[in-house]
């Protein structure tokens, strides 16, 4: 019998390669992610500030250049930010303080994390470019951000509400000026919700495989063409 400690598991990382949970991280300050400097070198004035909070680097950038930056971070051989973790927004109670749109990016090959922030002043229309052309996973995250905060993502292919129903008229629920119970009376909210008629939109015909056949991935089309049943 081999002792348990000597069993080699195929594919396991050697101990010195394994990621360690960092300890003793300062709240402010520390070594910024090298990608922040690379961004500043490449985009210059579009990068206005670099903060390090709890060991994570936040780069405050010009809203108009966000798509270029995310595309560059995605494509550049020295960066390879291939995973868009989250797109969301933060609003502060202070009327003077701008609304922040936040992108969390992770580079799996280099094990780096980078947070991009764009500041949108309150009075102006809340618009930022969509990163959907770079990360397809941004689709629903941007829809959620639009649904909850009313931030418009220019270039998004299908920007409509995702959590609230599409005919929702009360506004954007996570904005600070939105009352917790909504703007309408409970009876009016119910009346509108019951009139939403979800079947008008989500029909079985709409999601049938026959109509969506050309949109399916190749291997699935081949399997279906060879006579495999879809289970409908």
């Amino acid at each position: 019998m081999t002792p348990t400690s000597q069993i080699q598991i195929a594919g396991s990382a050697a101990p010195h390669d394994a990621p360690r949970t960092p300890t003793q991280i300062p709240h402010r300050g520390g070594t910024p992610n090298p990608s922040a400097e690379a961004l500043r070198a490449r985009f210059g004035d579009a990068v206005s500030r670099v903060d390090v909070v709890w060991g994570e680097t936040t780069v405050v950038v010009d809203a108009a250049r966000v798509r270029d930056m995310v595309a560059w971070l995605h494509d550049d051989a020295g960066e390879r930010y291939d995973y868009l973790v989250d797109v969301t927004a933060v609003e502060f109670r202070d009327l003077e303080q701008p609304l922040e749109v936040v992108w969390h990016l992770r580079s799996l090959p280099y094990r780096r994390f980078l947070r991009l922030k764009a500041l949108l002043p309150k009075g102006a229309p809340l618009e930022v470019p969509s990163v959907w052309p770079v990360h397809k996973g941004a689709d629903w995250m941007e829809r959620e951000c639009f649904d909850m905060f009313g931030v418009r993502f220019e270039g998004h292919p299908d920007l409509r509400r995702i959590l609230m129903w599409e005919q929702y008229k009360e506004g954007f629920p996570l904005r600070k000026d939105f009352p917790l119970r909504g703007r309408f009376s409970r009876a009016e909210q119910l009346r509108q919700a019951l009139a939403a008629n979800p079947e008008a939109r989500y029909s079985m015909e709409e999601i049938s495989v026959v109509e969506a056949f050309s949109d399916l991935p190749d291997e699935m089309r081949q399997r279906l063409a060879s006579g495999e049943r879809t289970g409908e």
Binding site: M164, P179, R181, S185, R186, A187, L190, A193, P198, E199
Partner: protein, 209 residues
């Protein structure tokens, strides 16, 4: 089997025990209600943690089969009881309404837990303040979530209610039609009154700005 008719002094039934064996007399009401109450098929509408507790109730330890409810009906067209376990967001309101309308008469509804009964702690823009504002409810089971014993007590209360129904009462077979303009079963003023904040949630009216 428990088929014991109540003695009615005004009627005297004479039976010749020798002529035929193995029969029993009862009221038709009683027989039908007895069969209905002990073979209810629940349509589980589980949206939250109450549904976990409902699963525990249906599993072997608490054994919902003792009440004739072991056959969960995932098609509303075969269901007798709509068992709403969990909070119902406004987006789901037309769905639960449609499920209720697809159930054949006679039908009953159990609102399981604080959220289904009143909206619970979710006194916000997204959650229906009690499903009785959308569909008629027969039994409310309090708790967050209710223990299986509480749910079974609610089920037994519903069985008592069914046992008390009379065939003469035609409302059992009539679909309740909502108001055509608003699609609501109860007047809007009643909904607003039912949904008023209470307890700690009266302090949550600030809008933030």
């Amino acid at each position: 089997m428990g088929l014991i008719a109540r003695p009615d002094e005004k009627q005297v039934v004479t039976v010749d025990p020798g002529s035929q064996e193995g029969w029993v007399t009862t009221r038709l009401d009683f027989l039908v209600n007895w069969a209905r109450a002990n073979s209810m098929w629940p349509m589980p509408f589980g949206t939250a943690c109450c549904a976990i507790e409902f699963m525990a109730t249906a599993a072997s330890k608490y054994d919902l089969a003792r009440f004739g409810m072991e056959r969960l009906s995932y098609s509303p067209r075969q269901a007798d009881v709509l068992l709403c376990a969990g909070r119902v967001p406004l987006k789901l309101a037309p769905v639960i309404r449609r499920i209720y309308q697809q159930m054949p008469q006679p039908k009953w509804v159990i609102a399981m837990g604080a959220c289904a009964s009143t909206g619970g702690m979710f006194d916000n823009y997204a959650v229906v303040q009690g499903i009785d504002t959308i569909i008629p409810v027969d039994v409310y089971v309090p708790g967050c979530p209710p223990r299986p014993e509480a749910l079974m007590y609610g089920i037994m209360m519903l069985q008592q209610k069914v046992m008390g129904e009379r065939l003469r009462d035609e409302s059992l077979r009539h679909e309740i039609v909502p108001d055509p303009a608003s699609q609501l079963y109860i007047p809007p003023s009643a909904i607003d009154e039912l949904s008023e904040p209470f307890g700690n949630s009266v302090h949550q009216t600030r809008s933030g700005l």
